[in-house]
């Protein structure tokens, strides 16, 4: 297993949000973490990344127990986070944003370079010298993903990459994720939209009130109307 999450607990101050989240992610797999708005998807990802300190549980990344590590160490160990709010550096150019993410190559992975990333996101190539604040939301999302890939992560944590974007751009995102999958990338995708998830994911887990309530292949979820009605519809 590339990533194993066992009984993860985390929250904000007194508010306990995650109450025992467990799932596995195999190398080369795209797993979608589904759940309604406020279910705790982003919280799970932040806890994995060390931005929130887990209060209990274990997180194994390629064998190492990274729960409780500081974010920079977790990033170096191979988790790459693309935040929901994108958080592109507004006053750095697109090229500089990518440079900030650069980390040494990782054994067994073809190292990412700006050139390869501009091939993955052709829109970005002409924007190299444009400040992060002066590109569109979709372009910022691409920069955020590209910047994280520059760190050659073992696992990419994508938090709602299609949120708030026009349908054409959402299509581009789906294609980019599929392209990454063809290259063998391992992805944990947090999503609200089953439609988007079903286009890219192999497996799904559903998060509800801080626990995993459903785990299985994405096709099984598509077939299970009962589970969808119980856990996903608003």
């Amino acid at each position: 297993m590339m990533l194993q999450v066992e009984n993860l607990h985390a929250g904000y101050g007194g508010a306990k949000i995650l109450r025992g989240v467990s799932f596995d992610l195999a190398a080369g797999e795209v797993l979608v973490l589904l759940g309604r708005n406020g279910a705790g998807k982003s919280t799970t990802i932040k806890a994995l990344m060390g931005l929130l300190r887990p209060t209990a549980g274990r997180v194994r990344l390629a064998g190492a127990d990274i729960a409780g590590w500081e974010p920079h160490r977790i990033a170096r160990a191979g988790l790459g986070w693309v935040p929901e709010e994108r958080r592109v550096f507004p006053e750095l150019t697109v090229a500089e944003n990518l440079e900030v993410g650069r980390r040494p190559a990782r054994e067994g992975l073809a190292p990412w370079t700006p050139e390869r990333l501009f091939a993955l996101f052709p829109n970005l190539a002409e924007l190299r010298q444009r400040p992060g604040a002066r590109i569109s939301g979709g372009e910022q999302q691409m920069v955020a993903i590209a910047r994280t890939l520059m760190g050659n992560p073992r696992v990419l944590l994508l938090d709602e990459p299609g949120e708030g974007l026009a349908p054409v751009i959402v299509d581009l995102m789906a294609e980019a994720i599929l392209a990454l999958k063809r290259e063998g990338a391992t992805v944990l995708l947090a999503e609200q939209s089953l439609a988007f998830a079903s286009r890219v994911a192999d497996r799904a887990v559903i998060l509800e009130t801080g626990r995993i309530v459903w785990d299985g292949a994405i096709d099984a979820l598509l077939a299970d109307t009962g589970a969808r009605a119980r856990h996903l519809q608003v």
């Binding site: 920079h72 935040p83 750095l92 900030v100 980390r103």
Partner: protein, 614 residues
């Protein structure tokens, strides 16, 4: 013509060292969001270390360069240690506590420097090559001025290259915009922050070392340079290197001409120029609004009126205070008088800090204005004590109105920096304007009227005026004014939406605070019989802050508890040599241990105890 040109050169040369200090301050602020009050201390250390090195090295130009660079590097190392030991622990603390903790460092460094280098100003015997002049187009230019004039832009260029052409610089710029994101991309923030701090400290040290040949290394240079550096970074725009450079040129040249033309009011001139710039460009010449995006971090607990238990306790304490002269000896009585003065001084600061949300680092300015007003009434007008006591709050309040008119527009650290800069200027005026204030010798013989001449009567009078004044301030805070003020503090936008004029409310609090402090200053003047510039000095402003912090910002009893505690501490623990280092360490320990103050911590314990009992 020649004279003007030379003056211009002097100004530009001064601007260079000022720029170095301000650049360090602004770089550190950009990444860590901490306004480093101890930055002037690093400048001072740079000068002292340079003196130690240069006075031992041969007097050749290349050794001079070596010594100056050595001093800069040593200061950078000191900065790195400071960051690791203290600053790292307070990055997420409320702004006010960060400012206070770094001020604690100022005090500690002053005593360390006093201990290592002694109290005498140390200047460097200048070798001939340093004193030389260069002839250009028939005019003779002092060689060292030219050196300094070149150093400023050279360092600016070097810094721009560093920030825009290296990976380290890129990471620093990224961290300035979103430090947590940088960490999540695998960058160790600690290494980055420590190195940024070391760079900033090194720049300050370089500035101090370069300023040495034209002046001396002395124990006053820390506060005087930090006040100027604050003015420069605020005028230039917080976080902007180019802005700091422009502003340093502006201020440096202004000062040089000011000293040549109107020596007494040069500092006032600087302050006026700063005011003018900020009225036109509130974020400074090249600053951006988001430089202050951090906002209030501290979750402010609501102020509650005292409960019955606390009221009884207060009455008992007051009664004890009234009866004290029947048992207390003269020494204790004078300590108690000081405590009464401290109560009003702290309560007046509390008005603007707690309910007003404005932390002043220059509150002693109003105290001093009040004290000098009393002195002026006694000596200048030959009037009785009543005139002095009446004049003081009006004089302090009127000046507070003038200064506050544009200072209260600023938020958070800006306000703290500007009030400090103003107080430093007020102190310098009192210090330099010997004809009126007597300079360092002060004004002596400011005695109370005959009927209040004996100690117990003076004490009762102080108690009446100061505790009475504090109660009036307290009354104002539970009146509609106080509620409106707190509404403005908690959300200026919402307060404006319900029709409150935030600017006027804040200004009113500022003036009220100034007037209260002015009265306490006058009482103090009559009780001591004399007035000195130190009444206005920054450490005295910090006394007020520590007092309020000791007592807790968000409790009404805070200023009283704090004032009594602090006066007791000052009279016993903090007496004698090296009181600064003790006070500095006390401040640092307090910030690290009790971010809510003693009364705040006590009330939390009380609540918990009551909760368990119920």
């Amino acid at each position: 013509m020649d004279l003007i040109f030379l003056q211009l050169l002097t100004g530009l040369a001064g601007a260079s060292t000022l720029f170095l200090v301000a650049a360090g301050l602004t770089v550190i602020f950009g990444v860590t969001r901490v306004v480093n009050f101890s930055h002037g201390s690093l400048y001072m250390l740079g000068a002292f270390i340079a003196w130690s090195l240069l006075s031992r090295l041969p007097r050749e130009p290349d050794y001079f360069v070596l010594g100056v660079l050595g001093a800069a590097v040593a200061t950078a190392v000191i900065g790195a240690v400071l960051e690791v030991v203290l600053l790292r622990r307070i990055y997420r603390a409320p702004e006010l506590l960060q400012l206070l903790a770094t001020f604690g460092v100022v005090l500690v460094v002053q005593d360390v420097a006093l201990w290592v280098w002694g109290p005498v100003d140390l200047s460097l015997p200048r070798p001939r090559w340093l004193r030389g002049a260069v002839e250009i187009a028939g005019l003779r230019f002092p060689f060292y001025d030219l050196v300094l004039i070149v150093v400023g832009p050279a360092v600016l260029g070097g810094l721009l290259l560093l920030f825009h052409r290296t990976r380290w610089g890129l990471l620093v710029r990224a961290a300035t915009q979103d430090r947590d994101m940088v960490a999540a991309l695998g960058v160790d923030q600690r290494v980055l922050f420590t190195s940024v701090f070391a760079l900033g400290a090194g720049l300050a040290g370089l500035g101090g070392a370069l300023a040495l040949p034209q002046g001396s290394a002395n124990l006053n240079m820390d506060l005087s340079v930090i006040a100027e550096a604050f003015v420069v970074v605020v005028v230039g725009g917080m976080g902007s290197l180019g802005g700091a450079f422009l502003a340093a040129l502006l201020i440096g040249v202004l000062q040089a001409f000011g000293i040549a033309l109107v020596p007494k009011i040069t500092l006032v001139l600087v302050f006026l120029v700063m005011a003018a710039v900020l009225v036109v460009r509130p974020h400074g010449l090249l600053g951006k609004p988001q430089a202050m995006a951090r906002g209030e971090v501290e979750a402010l607990a609501p102020i509650r009126p005292a409960g019955p238990a606390l009221q009884v306790l207060g009455l008992v304490a007051l009664l004890a205070a009234i009866l004290a002269p029947f048992v207390a000896g003269p020494y204790l009585l004078s300590v108690l008088t000081e405590a009464a003065v401290a109560v009003l001084f702290a309560a007046s600061l509390h008005v603007m800090m707690g309910p007003g949300g404005m932390a002043s680092f220059g509150h002693a300015a109003w105290f001093g204005v009040g004290a000098y007003a009393a002195a002026f009434a006694a000596k200048g007008l030959g009037a009785g004590m009543a005139v002095g006591l009446l004049l003081a709050p009006f004089a302090a309040g009127a000046l507070a109105l003038l200064v506050g008119a544009f200072v209260v527009r600023m938020s958070g650290v800006y306000l703290a920096m500007l009030t400090l800069a103003f107080a430093q200027i007020a102190w310098a005026v009192a210090f330099q304007w010997v004809e009126v204030t007597g300079g360092d010798n002060g004004v002596l013989g400011v005695w109370p009227d005959g009927w209040a001449a004996d100690k117990p009567t003076m004490y009762w009078l102080a108690l009446l005026l100061c505790v009475g004044g504090a109660l009036v301030l307290r009354r104002a805070l539970f009146a509609p004014f106080g509620f409106a003020l707190r509404a403005t503090r908690d959300s200026a936008l919402r307060a404006e939406a319900i029709g409150l004029d935030a600017h006027r409310l804040r200004l009113a609090a500022f003036v009220l605070a100034g007037a209260g402090a002015g009265l306490s200053g006058a009482v103090f003047a009559y009780a001591k019989g004399s007035v000195f510039p130190t009444y206005m000095a920054i450490p005295h402003s910090v006394d007020a802050l520590v007092t309020v912090l000791l007592g807790g910002v968000q409790t009404m009893a805070g200023p009283v508890v704090g004032a009594v505690t602090f006066t007791v501490l000052q009279s016993w623990l903090l007496m004698g040599d090296f009181w600064r280092i003790k006070l500095g360490l006390l401040i640092i320990a307090l910030v690290l241990a009790f971010p809510t103050g003693i009364a705040g911590a006590a009330s939390a314990v009380w609540d918990r105890w009551r909760g368990r009992a119920a």
